[in-house]
Amino acid sequence: MTELTKVVMRLDGVAEAHRLDVYEANGGYKALRKVLGEMKPQEVIDEVKASGLRGKGGAGFPAGLKWSFVPQDHPGPKYLACNADEGEPGTFKDRWIIENNPHQMIEGCIICAYAVGLSHIYVYCRGEFYEGKRKIEQAAKEAYEKGYLGDNILGSGFSTHLTVHTGAGSYECGEETALLTSLEGGRGHPKIKPPFPASEGAWRKPTVINNVETLATVPAVISQGARWHAGMGTEKSKGIKMVCVSGHVERPGIYEVEFGVPISAIINDLAGGVWQGRQIKGYFPGGSSTPVLPAEKVDVPYDYESIAEAGSMLGSGALIVFDSETDIVRMAEVITRFYAWESCGKCTPCREGTRWMLQIYERILNGGGRMEDLELLLSICDNLEFKSFCPFGDAAVSVVRSTVSLYRDEYEEYIREHKVYRRRFTPVKH
């Protein structure tokens, strides 16, 4: 039986864990006291590096390494942007952290700010997280009152501030440089890299951008040590991950596990298996941006390297399972519409390509598809991937290319038989 390893979720089930007194009674802010009292900033960075902690927002970039890129001697302000924009379809872990244990995220933010010398923390929070924003704001207020935030934190001489900033409904604003443009008051368009945010980020000052889950793991890494963290998971994917399981399973939910457990174990042991006694047809290992893997690949170990080898990506940790009855073409249309409508419009391949792909899907589902459409879809994918300004364009092709190659017969059936998908409603862009 696969075991849960609750680290970020260690207070799952503890009543009122979002309150400062409850968090403190459970060891909260001990890690912050430890770094301020006993550790030099460089030692904190080294500890996080040694722990092998990788970013949980999608790319899996080593957190300590990212922190070390920020110039130590830079004059003037430096910033932390905590990415709480959680928009990747299938992902719902950051909302859980924010609503249930916001102090753990805040403590991680302050430790990062101390290690890198950051004067202000901006928590960029999805606009739709009304409850989440209230929870972070309340927690930040408590932390200020207790002297964990503000000037001269706990008498250490270190100062940093925290502001909750709201997004307004845009998936692209989760991309780190688009997030910065949005924070600066612009349309959510990404910026060219280099310069990387670590040297020139928000308001052209050095900026660290980390995901909520990444930052919420930091207090445990400090309290229990790099060696403890590095001892979990696999050689290259160290530690734990909150896996969001959704779709056709009996018990959808968030399951925090060590990297390396078989995906089938997560689906069957933890999420109760495929619903209604049906068979699995395939799954997205890391959200709608990651290529679909077929049922035969369900025993792949859950870690970055194994999933990459299987032809997909671990992404943000969103395991979306679909059963044997699923209409693949319609599912791919749902996701393609999402990319077409959320494309920020800055670059041509993505702005145009995603819309063309959507039109082709609509044509096929309306019974007017042509066999050449499949090659056309694949050729649009080729013109989008690695030719777009930001990784959004690459993400948009994942579902198209993987489903056309894995389930081509279903596309062909739609086209050959002029099958019409009976729509229950017509979505409208707003």
Binding site: Y171, A318, F338
Partner: protein, 159 residues
């Protein structure tokens, strides 16, 4: 030229309290437009002109930014906003039936406002609640594991 409307004093206060937290005034643009909807019906051209004046930036830029974000209403909307997710996990668990039932009960289509002005129905992308799909929001309240037969009760609750 658009005549700017009088900003609600509470909104002005809200902005002024936050200015010191940012290196530039315009950084507060998106949060201000979101907050403004608590006091003003929607982001009308007059409201955007007033926000532009307050943040000392051109109104055309305010409009450009506002047009990018879906949570900023550029047209009059109903008293309550219903946001129903139509993304993949919700699709897999039956959101299409929920949306169809919403249209039926409200007597309006996705993207429209009911004749009495009470509800605006929109479909939205993943609300980060896929573990309890299908989901919808009425204003700030999230409803999870929604079944079509619950729609009547949910709408009555908002009324």
């Amino acid at each position: 030229m658009t005549v700017s409307v009088q900003l609600h004093p509470e909104l002005r206060k809200w902005v002024e309290e936050r200015l010191s937290r940012y290196p530039t005034r315009r950084s507060l643009l998106v949060p201000t437009l979101i907050q403004a909807q608590k006091y003003h019906d929607y982001a009308s051209p007059g409201l955007m002109q007033a926000v532009a004046d307050l943040l000392q930036m051109p109104a055309s830029e305010v409009m450009s930014v506002a047009s990018f974000y879906t949570l900023i209403a550029k047209h009059p909307v109903g008293k309550h906003i219903i946001q129903v997710c139509h993304n993949v996990s919700c699709y897999l668990r039956g959101c299409d039936e929920v949306i169809a039932r919403l249209e039926e009960r409200l007597g309006c289509k996705v993207g429209e406002t009911t004749e009495d002005g009470k509800f605006t129905l929109i479909t939205v992308e993943c609300l980060a609640a896929c573990g309890s799909a299908p989901v919808m929001m009425v204003d700030e309240k999230l409803y999870e594991n929604v079944r079509p037969d619950q729609i009547g009760r949910i709408l009555a609750e908002a009324n």
